[in-house]
């Protein structure tokens, strides 16, 4: 619908497609990243029995803006022996890899950035760009510690993409479509029809599927935690071991880009998990708009529900970060290769069997 509006406005399908794909980026994600920085500091502060930012604005609300202004006016330091081209491109790649995934995420039923049939495939492929960006950043910094951090990050992200993909595959097998929009539409009804509880099928299949869906949910949540380098998997940016890992040498706006990219990434993976398992933008209880007869209210409510689910999962990620200690590199690899991959593989096979029968 919005696509048609813009198409009428500009008259060129290509331009309007580009604008429609970039709308969620500027209207939602960029402000969200700014809010998420503030949210993380407040959440961590209250969990640690202190207050967090309190002075800038009412209860510190303007803290992120102050941070961004500070980072913009900082000197951009490039050391003499750094590889200038790679050094400059790396943050851009990481930024792009995180933000471009939002084009295919269904925010509400009437608007999706880019209606592609290969939604999930696109998202997973684009987030792979982040790996290249991190490796470039570590190498171009000309610093032993940064290189170590970058190599660990790459190993971690690649190892944890496999359980993610296996779980996504199992879901795709069950529902038969890779388009996230279709997936969300299939989970209409009350929360009983969400994929976490078996999807929109008859009762026997649902009951059989529920335990495996639960396992899949846990596995994908853990793997996506590792993909965004959050504790307990934050070896690449382990402050107490390698002093910030692969982005040690960055200052000013480039550092801000890494930073914002991390928060956007967090929301992206939460959104994917929500779309896959928790019903996307569907409400668990039916729509207020339908109840009072105002049809135009429904998409707005769906948007609200989607945001609530996404932000809820992001808050759980923050909760985990400030509670758990960090895993060592070899233990991280063990968890992925020895535990998550076999379990998700078996999960895949069983879900496939249940779907066929």
């Amino acid at each position: 619908m919005i696509y048609d509006v813009i198409n009428n406005l500009t008259g060129s399908p290509v331009l309007s497609a580009v604008i429609v794909a970039m709308l969620p980026l500027f209207l939602f994600i960029l402000p969200f990243a700014l809010v998420a920085v503030y949210l993380e500091r407040k959440v961590s502060a209250h969990m640690q029995d202190r207050l967090g930012p309190m002075r800038v604005g009412y209860h510190g609300v303007l803290q992120t803006i102050a941070d961004i202004i500070k980072l913009i006016q900082k000197e951009d330091i490039i050391a003499k022996d750094n590889d200038k081209l790679l050094f400059n491109i790396a943050p851009v790649l990481v930024f792009v890899g995180s933000y471009a995934a939002f084009a295919a995420i269904p925010f509400t039923s009437i608007f999706i950035g880019a209606q592609i049939d290969l939604g999930i495939f696109l998202i997973i492929a684009v987030t792979g760009l982040v790996v290249a960006g991190i490796l470039m950043a570590g190498w171009a910094s000309n610093n032993k510690y940064s290189l170590l951090g970058a190599m660990r990050a790459v190993a971690q992200i690649i190892s944890y993409e496999i359980p993610t993909i296996l779980v996504v595959l199992s879901l795709v097998m069950m529902t038969g479509s890779m388009n996230l929009y279709t997936l969300s539409e299939m989970q209409t009804g009350y929360f009983w029809n969400w994929n976490l509880f078996g999807g929109n099928y008859d009762i026997l299949q649902k009951l059989l599927l529920i335990p495996f869906m639960l396992i899949g949910f846990i596995i994908i949540y853990i793997s996506t935690l590792a993909e965004v380098n959050r504790t307990p998997f934050d070896i690449p940016e382990a402050e107490s071991e390698l002093v910030s890992g692969f982005h040690t040498e960055y200052s000013g706006m480039k550092f801000a880009m890494f930073f914002l990219a991390e928060y956007a990434n967090m929301f992206a993976v939460s959104a994917i998990v929500a779309a896959l398992f928790l019903g996307g933008y569907q409400s668990p209880f039916g729509y207020l708009g339908n109840l009072i007869g105002a049809e135009w209210l429904v998409p707005i409510e769906q948007f609200l529900w989607f945001t609530i689910k996404g932000v809820g999962l992001v808050l759980v990620q923050m909760w985990l970060r400030w509670t758990l200690p960090r895993l060592r590199v070899d233990q991280l690899m063990t968890v992925s290769w020895k535990y998550l991959i076999p379990i998700s593989f078996v999960n895949l096979i069983i879900i496939g069997l249940i779907t066929i029968l």
Binding site: S44, K144, P232, S240, E241, P325, R326
Partner: protein, 384 residues
């Protein structure tokens, strides 16, 4: 391929390897001060570690020869700045034995109370920063919240939070504040559930156990040969505590136990044991403080402070049980008002030598784990 020298191809499998030297420099968030560790790595495994110290050397021993005996006490504070009361107690006990003066009972009891409170405060710092090194940020703030209460108790007694100059030769500088006993009892009541919370959050956390169990195992014989004392030695399984085995002050009047490492989460003497022994010691210190508060005698604290402190010529080695181990003062006096020689046997100085032996064959991430579990303070190592 043709210009590779013969020395490089030594490895049996024909792969050319070399050792990398990594420097965990004097400025690093996890080395607990200005310590330089020169780590020789082969891949990610460590083959040798050389600690380089001396960045915080402030010449305490030379200063002590130029000061009078009471003037040395603020200098002793600044060596192990996280456990200042014990530095003062060790020095003062030595001088009192040389002077052959007997302090009143009330003074002894107050010294014990202050010492045990200081032990809890020091262990809280050790455990909190150990959590931060492993990656758990929240227990650090919980530990420091409790430590604030202890520092408040010190502040109302002598006016300072970290470096006190409170224990004088022959007595104390101030008597207890009228509110001290009530506030301490409140603190004890509040602190016991906090230890349980710390255990749930950190000690029995599966990830923490994976990081610390079976890492840096210190066998008993090696520990004794290297001169390691304190919680590091007790974690290796042997029950040796100066408060029971070589008693000083009035410790023989209290009923408490000495926690010994048993290898509950891994092997005896690994990093988890060293961490857990400290947690248990905090509980035992609470017992001692309670008993001391219950039986605190009255008296005048300034009655035994001599006017001129001029010990006869002689030498003495006095030692106390620091939170980090055995702190010893070897004081030689030659009959004048300045000490002739004061040598400090700092426990962290001796414990740091085992880093090389413990870290061989581990990964780089384990260096931080092992260093944090030994609990060093650079002020003590470099002898101020």
């Amino acid at each position: 391929m043709s210009f590779e020298s013969k020395e490089n191809i030594e490895n049996k499998s024909g792969v050319r390897t070399e050792e990398m030297v990594l420097n965990m420099g004097p400025q690093h968030p996890s080395t607990h001060g200005v310590l330089r560790l020169e780590i020789t790595l082969e891949g990610e495994l460590i083959t040798k570690i050389t600690p380089h110290i001396g960045y915080l050397h402030r010449c305490f021993e030379k200063h002590a020869e130029a000061m009078t005996y009471p003037q040395v006490i603020p200098y002793t504070d600044r060596m192990d700045y996280l456990a200042s009361m014990y530095n003062e107690i060790g020095y003062v006990i030595g001088v009192e034995k040389l002077l052959k003066i007997e302090v009143p009972e009330r003074v002894e009891y107050i010294r014990v109370i202050m010492g045990e409170l200081q032990r809890i405060a020091s262990h809280l710092v050790a455990l909190g920063t150990y959590g931060v090194d492993i990656g758990a940020f929240t227990p650090f703030l919980y530990c420091f919240r409790d430590r604030e209460k202890i520092l408040h108790l010190f502040e109302i007694t002598c006016g300072a939070r970290l470096l006190y100059n409170y224990i004088w030769i022959g007595g104390l500088s101030h008597d207890l504040h009228p509110d001290f006993v009530r506030l301490t009892r409140e603190f004890i009541k509040d602190f016991k559930p906090n230890i349980k919370e710390l255990n749930n959050l950190l000690s029995y956390n599966k990830i923490f156990i994976d990081r610390t169990a079976n890492v840096g195992i210190l066998p008993v014989d090696t520990a004794i040969n290297y001169g390691v004392t304190g919680p590091n030695l007790r974690a290796s399984g042997i029950n040796w505590d100066l408060r029971k085995d070589d008693p000083y002050s009035v410790y023989h009047k209290f009923d408490y136990e000495i926690p010994v490492g048993e290898g509950k989460a891994g092997t005896v003497g690994d990093s988890w044991d060293r961490y857990y022994v400290r947690v248990c010691e905090m509980e035992e210190s609470l017992k001692i403080i309670e008993q001391a508060l219950d039986t605190l005698p009255d008296g005048d604290i300034a009655s035994a402070i001599p006017k001129r402190i001029k010990p006869p010529a002689g030498m003495i080695y006095s030692r106390v049980e620091n939170p980090r181990g055995e702190l010893g003062y070897f004081i030689i006096s030659d009959g004048t008002i300045n000490p002739f020689r004061v040598k400090v046997r700092a426990p962290s100085f001796v414990s740091l030598q085992i880093m090389d032996e413990l870290c061989r064959g581990h990964l780089v991430a384990d260096v931080i784990t092992i260093l944090g579990s030994i609990d060093i303070v650079l002020g003590e190592i470099d002898r101020e």
